[in-house]
């Protein structure tokens, strides 16, 4: 008697799990994996709303590091990616995990540090600045989480022809998000590489007395290109390729590009739309 009741309960529970799971999968929704920088700046909610208004498709997203976003794509767990690590993206598409990479916008990175600037990097080019930091053994806080920002930092060290100072005591691998890394750099009077969007939020919260100031900006290697990649249905049969393609086309269209260009944080523009016409 008791056992059958228990069995029925378990069955009912299992059924409800399956039903509610598949109910969520139905309907016109699109699942995207993207990077924390787009979510933290508030661009995504704006983008999602405009996209729904134009196409009726609801955009859902998980915001993770670029490395994990690509992994979600490989595992067929999302339909589309919006990421910023060109080399890794090209490999992703070459390996057949994505159909096509469409460049849609860029923002830029800056190197920030204490106003006292112990390594004297102000106004230098990115590579020279890193060399100066290494020479002065000034604290440098790295994201250390395989995110797009971390990959950008690694490529800057490489561009400056300096071996990644992974084992040096002045090089701190935080393994955290951008804002947490900035706060750590502020507390330790160190330098770090940051996307401008997160820095604007940081500066705003510091209410006029940020512990870190912009020291290096505008250098070409510091530009950060974002691309959209639909996940390849040849590898992932469940992927919603139709909706993913609509999103990719929409973001590259004048409509989507305008949403990106008009987006501001605390009155400052963050992303520059640059999809090929």
């Amino acid at each position: 008697m008791r056992a059958t009741m228990l069995g029925r309960l378990i069955l009912a529970l299992a059924l409800s799990l399956v039903v509610s799971g598949s109910a969520l999968a139905a309907g016109e929704t699109l699942m995207m994996a993207t990077t924390t920088s787009t979510d933290d700046t508030g661009l995504l909610p704006v983008l999602g709303e405009a996209f729904k208004k134009d196409t009726g498709i609801e955009l859902k997203w998980v915001a993770v590091g670029t490395g994990k976003a690509l992994e979600h794509g490989k595992n067929c767990d999302v339909d589309v990616l919006l990421v910023h690590a060109p080399a890794a993206e090209k490999k992703f598409v070459e390996d057949g995990n994505g159909t096509k990479r469409t460049e849609v916008m860029f923002n830029d990175f800056i190197i920030v540090g204490p106003a006292s600037d112990p390594a004297k990097i102000k106004g230098k080019k990115a590579g020279e600045a890193l060399a100066a930091i290494a020479a002065a053994k000034a604290p440098f806080i790295s994201r250390g989480d395989d995110s797009g920002t971390h990959k950008m930092e690694q490529s800057l060290w490489k561009g400056a022809e300096i071996a990644l100072p992974d084992k040096e005591s002045w090089y701190v691998s935080a393994g955290q998000g951008m804002m947490a890394t900035l706060n750590m750099a502020g507390e330790r009077k160190g330098y770090t590489l940051v996307d401008r969007g997160t820095y604007i939020s940081y500066e705003d919260q510091a209410k006029g007395k940020p512990a870190l100031v912009v020291l290096v900006e505008g250098d070409k290697p510091l530009l950060n290109q974002y691309s959209v990649i639909p996940v390849n249905p040849a590898k992932c049969e469940k992927v919603k390729i139709k909706q993913a393609q609509i999103f990719s086309d929409w973001l590259a269209s004048p409509k989507g590009q305008k949403v990106v260009g008009d987006f501001t944080v605390k009155g400052k523009k963050l992303f520059t739309p640059n999809a090929a016409k």
């Binding site: 409800s16 799990l17 598949s22 998980v62 993770v64 595992n75 767990d77 804002m179």
Partner: protein, 231 residues
């Protein structure tokens, strides 16, 4: 320093002002906790009772295994369940990843060892004279079983409260399996992580206070139940 005061003020605003995003996160948290608690108790309480009540070969090994699973790190639970319910995983067909039931599966695995271990402990700690007393009073095995079950109810309540505390405030599993999707799988704890990531510390603290208020209400209800049934 002002974060804490700002957070307190904001917590009241979020709750009293009926902020829809906050209520969505509260609702998701309650829903996933309810699903996980139901599964944990349905599976864990009988298993724990059996482990404490019955004698069987391999009992000590089973105990040891359950107690070891108490220290299973939540990110590893998240990772293992992710591997199973990812589209590429063996249970991928169910489409559970990034859904509330998917999170509930992970949280159930978190709660199970707690309920099993504490229930078994409670049954074992019952007055050893209970069984002989019942037997001399002429009780059948069935009656002994149910009497033991009745006596162990406080232990079970304690187990449920402990599991609730863990499941309700969990973040690693929820983040990994739910994905922190707004209006869908964003819980109070993953929302706190997001707000902290954005540098909105006061909002993070506000949500933490919201979480504590709900936890307080649940524990208050549990303790009221305990007092009433003890009287």
């Amino acid at each position: 320093m002002n974060y804490i005061l700002d957070g307190l003020r904001q917590a009241l605003e979020l709750l009293l002002g009926g902020d829809p995003a906050t209520f969505s996160a509260v609702w998701t948290t309650l829903l996933v906790t309810l699903e996980a608690m139901a599964a944990t108790l349905v599976l864990g309480a009988p298993a724990g009772f059996l482990l404490g009540y019955a004698d069987f070969p391999g009992k000590r090994a089973a105990r040891l295994a359950v107690e070891t699973f108490l220290s299973f790190p939540t990110v590893v639970i998240g990772l293992v369940v992710y591997a199973f319910i990812s589209r590429r995983g063996p249970l991928g067909e169910l489409g559970l990843l990034f859904t509330v039931p998917g999170m509930a599966v992970g949280l159930t695995i978190l709660g199970l060892p707690i309920v099993i271990a504490l229930t078994a402990q409670a049954v074992e700690n019952l007055d050893p004279r209970l069984r002989p007393t019942l037997l001399t009073l002429g009780a059948g095995p069935r009656q002994v079983f149910f009497a033991t079950l009745g006596e162990a109810r406080f232990g079970l309540l304690l187990a449920a409260t402990a599991a609730f505390g863990r499941i309700f405030s969990e973040i690693g599993i929820s983040m990994m399996l739910g994905g922190n999707i707004k209006w869908s799988t964003r819980t109070i704890t993953t929302a706190i992580a997001l707000e902290t990531g954005k540098g909105e510390f006061a909002t993070g603290i506000a949500l933490g206070i919201v979480l504590m208020i709900i936890a307080f209400a649940v524990n208050l209800a549990a303790s009221a139940f305990r007092r009433r049934s003890a009287a």
